[in-house]
Subunit: 338 residues, 4 copies
């Protein structure tokens, strides 16, 4: 079997998760080098995972001729720039979502990738979760007939840092949290979103107001085929990480989600109790491994990526429209922002 | 214990359910007379439940001096008129929801009731369901902190008749199905709705289009205190009757609903399977009894009704605004319709 | 429709439940008289439910010619005697379980019933619960192939009074609580029990030791067709009333039971919590109504009772064998006790 | 961090699972060599996982001085012999369960281990499953008071090969499947088993009869502190792999188990359906990794193994007694077999 030689760009919290995956879990991969703007961080991660080379500047990493592909886990605001540079260096690219927070940045990244002919896959890891995969398969098998409503709840157990919450960093609540649901919506419903309407507010953490973010939002979607969608986002699911999705069709419905981590029920005078899912790695850890495995397989088999730049641009476009709707208090057509 | 002497007005499908409740289940009640526009129907129901008197014209029933109160289960379009007549006759009134489909009709009914000083209670039976009652109580105890999001799915297993679907009969999908959720939203969130936005469509039963109705809708709510709400309505929950509600607060969440009727799980090569709730009587049968019991108790104890005419008017107002939003494709403020 | 005129014998806690059912819920029944060894109790219950006649001695009630049938809810130790007297008086009989705690008493009652030709139905109400009925039906339809294992947990939320716990009153834990499961075992497995082995102990309430009872027991069953059974009984399910049954077959399994009363989930920092079933009326209230309705229908249609005296004798026989096994610490064949 | 150099003995189906774990998942381990009686198998596994050395005779592997520890995944009948040889070679040992199928073999292995002073840990992986760990912790925290009943269902989705079913190979159903539950019973109840009674039969696969095995069994346990236990074993859970355990205490109960693999519910006209757990790797995959990690940590920190040879001998002793009970149709005291 051919081995894919990979460089990791970005070695923060999620970067380490990908380092672990690349170093130990996916057999067909050699993790050759790691880069991080913080040179000490890249040195530490390299040492911990026995990676031969490390850099403080990702452009140095891109100069290595023995690297086939890069995995990009840098801050969102830098995705487009790193992707363009990697494409120019002829490296295949796996990038954490989103592609970018503006459509012009998306377009610049897409152009660079197309010019160089490399493959670009985006990290919409929910598509690689066993639950969502089963849902997609059942829809394609016709189990629920024609999908007519999409529902999603994406809720974090706590708020982000105030610094991250600024729109220039996270893109705001709708862009930051919603992008996974925007991608799922298109994928599971099999139709493009044409209109969006948002309501939101700063209801639990007043300090978010000062940095221009909100903590709860509701987003309505209208699809090209007439179907409907509703997404709720929240930073105050203090009971645990709560990701639930439903697709209602003409012949049935699919519910994806789990409110229980450990298969243990406690029966006491307080009733029946079970634990919840603490955070995203507990819920989607396996999906993160699966998506890298899929990307590597796509390189080995020289087939198109499963989630490509156009998918990523569409998700960003929905986020842009939904955010505009929130800002202006009116329905926003996708045509308006593309 | 004082016995309340009751007349039943309306002896159709739901009228018979109330006849059963009044005749057998609530001990403090004597069902004295029944009226239905179809005189044969009222005769049959009277015979079946051993009711001494029956009428083809409800105005005859209202003339009886031995009747303390009436239960109104006539078609929605006649509620306001019957209520006004009953009030004029000095009878206390329990009426099936909604009070009326227009706010001017609501106001006329309210005026008649206030003038005569009788009590009027509306049949928002979900408030008397054990699940919703527990939720309300837990919210009041502070279990979930401040409520910030309201979610509801109300889904019927099949479409209504085309005749009923006409807006002049049912009020349209949003008014017909949504009114229970509009009432729950105000009650559970403890705040009034100030804005609504609706999306909807005729996605499964094209024939509804011809009578001006839709089969699926999504309704966004904004509450006076800034909280958010999302309601989905559907006529194509072919898997069963599906009523689920969630209230997310700053300190937790409450999920009310059940997808299982019988406590039996089937484990076969096809996976784990259980049945679903067939329709509303299986889900809310006990709540229908409870609401009548509550109304009777309010008469005996001479206390204000649990769900009064103002509650009913508010629910109708939200329905009017949400329907207008659907018709005009824009957010509609409640101020606009009141 | 023909009306069945019924006398109620025994007006204690469960007697009142049956009075309510007979007075209000089953339309084809007239509750004509009530008898209780405590004359004041029978007077009170008669007044409360508007029953025309009441007696301190059930033999007076049996003398009434206008009574078609009696419902026997007296203490277990008197069942056989009351049944024999009612049979001699030519009254059809519905009796709370068990028929008797000894096989000779069972036989005496059976003989009296057979001599007079009246119908006798026993109150194994679980057979009339929707969950168990579905299970029975699915087994008969072949959903799980051939049943090979029977499992049951029957657990009370608290111990009985010490007085009731004495073996001469309750028959002991195995006889008192197990008799429902012994009946279910035969009914659902479709085979007779041939051997039993019991373990038990006084593990939570040491005071039970002093009156000769235990608080936990495990009973193994062997069926004539080779199938296996295991029943656990406990008085310390402090979290709620817990009745769960499983039938494992060659092609699948059926789980009957519910650990949740109200369809409300609470999601807080403490995890996901729901309530439990408080006690037997909350779990089996509807089954108590159903069994009376079934008995009345069997009289109206003049068909054999659904659960007859032979069923009741078999359940008692298993209880006798299982109790003997506990006492002597060895497997006991049913042949030994019959 | 110190690295533990490990040799793998046995490279069949489960051997490959351990090879994967040792090669990729546990960072502190170097997999140095693999041995299998089938030399070609060991060569293949070595090639696949990049293991430097491979042998057809495990005694060659044991001669390597650069190996600290061995992982034994050979057929059960050879466990005791391989363990004795590894101990004599001064290697620490992790062995798949059971230690042996007879107590004399257990004792020989224990003696060899004690003589050489190496550490021996047994592969009771359920102790390392998150669900069982939570249960153990909650019991120790007193959540359910004093444990009084232990329940376990261990059910395979299909029968084993007839060759494996022979008692000289598998030890018979009770020994083969029950040993995990016997270990859990002691661990969770915190008391030793003193008596056992078994019922069993060949109810679904008559062909097992011919090789002297059964396909369903029920085993009663009595603990030293008076507590009770019931275990059911089955080879015909055709709906999936089904491992459920319950510990009922004086103050509550703990249910451990899961009947669902993927967090997706399907709502169709057939009811609500979800998938089941296919087989043991899907249920306990992570526990297999955890147990190796725990063993390696115990070597690094030089602390006693978490599950030692005495635990393993106790589980075997219960299996011997339970099998004897089945053979002789009587309760068997543990004293009898030790």
């Amino acid at each position: 079997m051919h081995t894919i030689r990979v460089g990791l760009i970005g070695a923060g919290r999620m970067g380490r998760v990908f380092a672990q995956t690349l170093a130990y879990t996916v057999a067909e991969v050699d993790l050759v080098a790691v880069a991080d703007a913080n040179a000490q961080t890249s040195a530490e991660v390299a040492a911990h995972f026995h990676v031969p080379h490390h850099y403080g500047d990702y452009r140095e990493l891109l100069k290595r001729e023995d690297i086939d592909a890069v995995v990009v886990v840098t801050p969102t605001a830098t995705h487009a720039e790193v992707i363009a540079a990697a494409a120019a260096a002829g490296k295949h690219i796996f990038s954490e979502k989103p592609l970018a927070q503006t459509l012009s940045e998306c377009d610049a990244a897409i152009e660079a990738v197309e010019r160089s002919g490399v493959k670009l896959q985006l990290g919409f890891m929910r598509r690689f979760d066993a639950g969502y995969r089963m849902a997609k398969q059942k829809i394609e098998e016709g189990l629920i007939g024609t999908p007519v409503m999409f529902h999603a709840a994406s809720r974090d157990p706590k708020r982000t840092s105030l610094e991250f919450a600024r729109r220039e960093n996270s893109g705001g609540l709708i862009m930051d949290m919603g992008v996974h649901d925007f991608d799922l919506a298109r994928w599971l419903m099999g139709s493009e979103v044409v209109r969006t309407y948002s309501e939101g507010g700063c209801l639990v953490y007043p300090e978010l107001n000062e940095v221009g973010d909100i903590d709860n939002a509701l987003i309505n979607l209208k699809f090209a085929n007439g179907a409907l969608g509703a997404i709720d986002l929240s930073r105050n699911a203090v009971y645990g990480y709560d990701i639930r999705t439903e697709v209602l069709g003409s012949e049935g419905s699919l519910l994806i989600g789990t409110l229980q981590q450990t298969p243990t029920l406690m029966l006491t005078r307080a009733g029946v109790t079970h634990d919840t899912v603490p955070y995203f790695m507990e819920r989607f850890g396996e999906a993160y491994t699966n998506e890298i495995r899929d990307f590597v397989t796509c390189l080995i088999e020289d087939r198109p990526p499963s989630v490509d730049a156009y998918d990523a641009r569409k998700a960003t476009a929905i986020g842009v429209a939904a955010t505009l709707s929130l800002d202006e208090g009116r329905p926003v057509s996708l045509d308006e922002v593309q």
